[in-house]
């Protein structure tokens, strides 16, 4: 059974360009695609992911990260990093450590895989096996740049998932991994010449958002999907009107109109439009009902998230895939 999850590209250096077809990333992906709703007050809706689901999701990401570093460090020698642009920028004090530091990160990701797999088994689950990946890097610089994207995504994934977990021991273990991913992210941001800690609060991303990002590196996965469980809809969720999940455009400007969105109580709703992946894009009026997106990164697929929130905190989100062929 085959499930087309998404097709994502990034025009940036062109190394994300491919179609990601997942041969069923299992229950996790199936369950989490599509529209999602949450209730205010932080209580899980009926049908919300169990701790086991969340661990399998974390394992999916850790498998990906571990494979990324294991493959990359097998492909590149220390010398390749020494001649990379990043090391040239920083000189020998950092450059001399770089390969060793990346080896440490690889070992950490492998340790996370081992630890999470053990807990999955304790809970009576079968740990999801690694998939086949295509990371698309050609040079050591590419590798470091993708590493940065993966680590920052990992931080956002764990920050969100910690709110889904219920078992105190698993919450604590998740937190001790999250902060290590943040350390990796900080270091890799630094190497890439980006601010190591760009904001006072990291940005949590939903499982759905993270799997959309991870999907672009996944060629196929061995585990067939199990019975999908659809999270129960929140009866108080606001409607998100006028927003399609797929938009094909020849124009670099995409105007959206969600002004017909309503809350159950009839009170005002607020909007948030953010970019999830793809080439460079500007969102003008991202907190209005009528944002205008300007696609600056050229032809390709861009993914955005639309979110409507009512005054009680009920939300409805939808992913918007924009296929731009000028």
């Amino acid at each position: 059974m085959e499930k087309q999850i998404t097709s994502l590209t990034s025009s940036r250096r062109g190394f994300f360009q491919k179609t990601a077809v997942l041969f069923g990333a299992g229950a996790v992906a199936t369950r989490l695609m599509g529209q999602s709703t949450t209730t205010p007050g932080g209580q899980p809706a009926a049908g919300a992911p169990t701790d086991l689901d969340v661990l399998q999701y974390a394992l999916t990401l850790e498998n990906l990260e571990a494979a990324f570093y294991t493959q990359g460090l097998a492909k590149f020698a220390a010398g390749d990093f020494n001649s990379s642009n990043f090391v040239q920028n920083f000189g020998s004090k950092v450059g001399g450590n770089l390969y060793g530091r990346l080896t440490e990160i690889r070992d950490h990701e492998q340790a996370h895989v081992v630890a999470i797999s053990a807990v999955v088994k304790q809970l009576g689950g079968t740990p999801v096996p690694p998939c086949t990946y295509n990371f698309g890097y050609k040079t050591a610089d590419d590798f470091i740049m993708i590493g940065m994207a993966l680590e920052n995504t990992g931080v956002s994934a764990y920050d969100y998932a910690i709110g889904l977990l219920t078992n105190p021991d698993i919450i604590q273990a998740g937190a001790t991994i999250a902060t290590v991913e943040a350390r990796h992210a900080s270091y890799l941001n630094f190497l890439n010449g980006t601010i190591p800690f760009p904001t006072p609060f990291d940005q949590p991303k939903t499982m759905q958002e993270v799997l959309a990002i991870a999907g672009q590196f996944i060629v196929s996965c061995p585990v067939p999907p199990t019975t999908p469980v659809t999270p129960a809809a929140n009866p108080n969720a606001p409607t998100l009107a006028g927003i399609s999940s797929t938009i094909n455009t020849r124009d670099s400007r995409v105007n959206l109109d969600a002004s017909g969105s309503t809350s159950v109580t009839g009170q005002a709703v607020s909007f948030s439009f953010t970019q999830v992946s793809g080439g460079t894009a500007n969102i003008n009026g991202q907190n209005t009902s009528t944002p205008s997106i300007v696609l600056l990164g050229g032809a390709g697929t861009y993914v955005f998230q639309a979110k409507v929130t009512d005054q009680a905190g009920n939300t409805t989100m939808r992913m918007i895939t924009v296929n731009y062929t000028p």
Partner: protein, 223 residues
């Protein structure tokens, strides 16, 4: 005045993270309640006030230190020289950014304080006040060493407190602060010549352990 004695056993782990010192705090009423919380159920407001106690300490530390030292002090410090100052191969890439990055860290800690105060108030709690601190910073290298200790301690504090928070949204918000502390810790470890990510799993620490580590910096706290 009130005395709190911590019953923490000596830390056997890294002395990078752990600050020794008898945990005798003068008048730390807020901290006292956090410690008593080990036998009483801990409320989310307790945990948020505990986090606020640490964020006040961090915010004050950076606010004071960055007034005391100039960007020139950082460029001439031992760590900058070890990393390679403007004259060496390492170049400006790291040393010249240090002051600016520390200003950003300061801003983050101040933002954490504001967010925690506002959340505690919104939940109907009373935010603890800032204490008076004594950081004993004789040089910019002292400052960086202490900053690294505080950030790594912050990581262990948030990792240890995450599972005490019952509300899922609050726990998620705490996680988004914890990972930022982790980013700060990695950077400061790197600047001070240490491993940015010394272990595959960070070490969670209990409130008692963290308050013992914070105690040497605290002169007095409002009742």
């Amino acid at each position: 005045m009130q005395e709190i004695k911590s019953e923490v056993s000596p830390d056997t782990g890294s002395n990078r993270v752990y600050l020794s010192g008898a945990a005798v705090l003068a008048g730390a009423a807020a901290l006292s309640s956090a410690l008593q919380a080990q036998t009483k159920p801990v409320t989310d407001i307790d945990v948020l006030n505990y986090a606020l106690t640490l964020e006040y300490l961090e915010a004050t530390f950076y606010t004071q230190g960055l007034k005391q030292f100039t960007s020139g002090d950082f460029a001439n410090g031992m760590f900058a020289t070890n990393l390679g100052n403007a004259q060496s191969a390492f170049g400006d890439s790291i040393s010249s950014d240090v002051f600016g990055y520390l200003l950003l860290v300061r801003d983050h800690e101040q933002a954490h304080v504001r967010a925690l105060v506002s959340t505690i108030t919104k939940l109907g709690g009373k935010p603890v006040g800032a204490c008076t601190y004594n950081f004993k910073l004789n040089s910019v290298d002292d400052f960086l060493t202490t900053a690294a200790v505080l950030e790594n301690t912050g990581v262990s504090a948030y990792d240890g407190a995450a599972n005490l928070i019952k509300d899922r949204d609050l726990r998620r918000t705490a996680a988004t602060i914890a990972t930022v502390e982790g980013r700060h810790a990695a950077y400061l470890n790197m600047i001070t010549g240490q491993d940015p990510f010394p272990a595959a799993f960070d070490t969670p620490k209990s409130m008692a352990e963290i308050l013992a580590a914070a105690a040497p910096f605290i002169a007095s706290c409002p009742a």
